[in-house]
Amino acid sequence: MNLTLKIWRQKSASDKGKMVDYKVTDISEHMSFLEMMDVLNEQLIAEGHEPVAFDHDCREGICGMCSMYINGEAHGPDRGVTTCQLHMRMFKDGDTITIEPFRATAFPVIKDLVVDRTAFDRIQHAGGYVSVNTSGNTQDANAIPISKHAADEAMDAATCIGCGACVATCKNSSAMLFVGAKVSQYALLPQGQVEAADRVQNMVAQMDLEGFGNCTNTGACEIECPKGISLENIARMNRELMKASIK
């Protein structure tokens, strides 16, 4: 298939940036979206132009590195996939595809389609862990009885790969689905409950400090999340913070 690509080009963080049109030809519908971007970049390099910078790593939907806002949606028009898992069969011959970086004040553009998502790392550092003594005397996690329901819910929350699609999609650039998932995966398990109050307070404080917006429950994040993280995690985070504040 032959496509027209409208891509955000920005030389550096301080550059103003603009949309630039490109043509790509003979794209197979079996290609992933990133492979299509590789074809474009090879073409640009052959022509002596600067290739388009974009984040990617595992290319199997696990690492959370690939981003891109494709035709007005985070990770493109497919559901439950990252950009690397998005296939060109989702598009038609002759289509014009608009490709932009994830937009949020807390996710500044570094170059072209690459954004700085270290705000998520700082939120994790603020409390997204359990303090476990790893000196060799650690208790076997399986020795602690955990209900199947809680274990499943915690696992579902833990599937968040921190890609930032929730922030990119949210009309308020809110990070509450991400933080809700990280708070939930620990709050549901006995190992995490010991530090639950401090964790939620510190992570929410860091989230606010980073300049993410407020959740208005549009639900867009859960629809666009490649891992299907549920809004229930935001509700749980709200409960956890209320509980922690009353203590």
Binding site: A106, D208, E224, R236
Partner: protein, 227 residues
């Protein structure tokens, strides 16, 4: 606890609490207004009670005003903060793919309701405050009107088709606001409302029945003007 209300989640909770209060107020306002369709006398009696009871006038009325002002001011504050969280807009954004129009436009439906409240205050609340608190007339009577004045005043307002049209339009915006706001308030309070079918249905029923009822009252009095 003061730190809680300064956090983004605390603001959401405060927004939800004021929303609950306003939704309860709306329900009682509707319950009283619908009486005007069935019995002018009952409507007059209840209106006089509401208009002269000290608890309602001096305690609940100020709380209501605070609730209304708080909900609007907080709504604007959150909107400004949210706009700052994305200073560069997308060239192409497909909002319809993942969220409802109502959820994305709460500020606009809210502004339409604010404009309506201004009109509503000019129509009813300011004259009422003037009569009772400035002129000092708590009798509920009006020259040339038999019995209490409330039903008469209500019908007078709905003679104008332009005013009825404005009220109908405002109630449509109110319905749009509530269609998202009802479940959203529960979700903000930590209840997983967006995934609970029963609560969604109650929310939809509330968001449609109450504004539709108000529309019916306005149109009913327009066509059944007895003076």
């Amino acid at each position: 606890m003061s730190g809680f209300f300064k956090s983004s989640i605390g603001r959401k909770v405060a927004m939800a609490l004021s929303a609950f209060f306003l939704m309860f107020f709306l329900l009682q306002h509707f319950a009283i207004n619908i009486l005007s369709v069935f019995s002018a006398d009952t409507f007059n009696e209840v209106s006089h009670f509401m208009g002269t009871n000290p608890l309602i006038q001096y305690v609940l009325q100020p709380v209501l005003i605070f609730g209304v002002v708080f909900h609007f001011v907080m709504g604007f504050v959150l909107e400004i903060k949210n706009k700052k969280a994305r200073q560069v807009a997308y060239v192409k954004n497909n909002g319809t793919a993942n969220s409802s129009w109502m959820s994305r436009n709460m500020i606009w439906s809210g502004l339409a309701i604010l404009a309506f409240i201004v009109l509503h205050f000019i129509d009813f609340w300011f004259p009422e405050i003037n009569t009772k608190f400035i002129q000092g007339d708590w009798s509920g009577m009006h020259e040339g009107v038999e019995g209490y004045r409330y039903f008469h005043e209500l019908q007078e307002k709905f003679v104008s088709p332009i005013r009825v049209g404005a009220y109908v339009l405002a109630f449509i915006f109110l319905a749009l606001h509530l269609l998202h706001g009802f479940t959203s308030a529960f979700q903000s309070m930590g209840y997983t409302a967006m995934h609970k079918k029963t609560l969604q249905n109650i929310g939809k029923a509330y968001a449609i029945i109450i504004p539709l009822g108000f529309i019916f009252i306005a149109i009913y009095h327009h066509f059944n003007h007895i003076h």
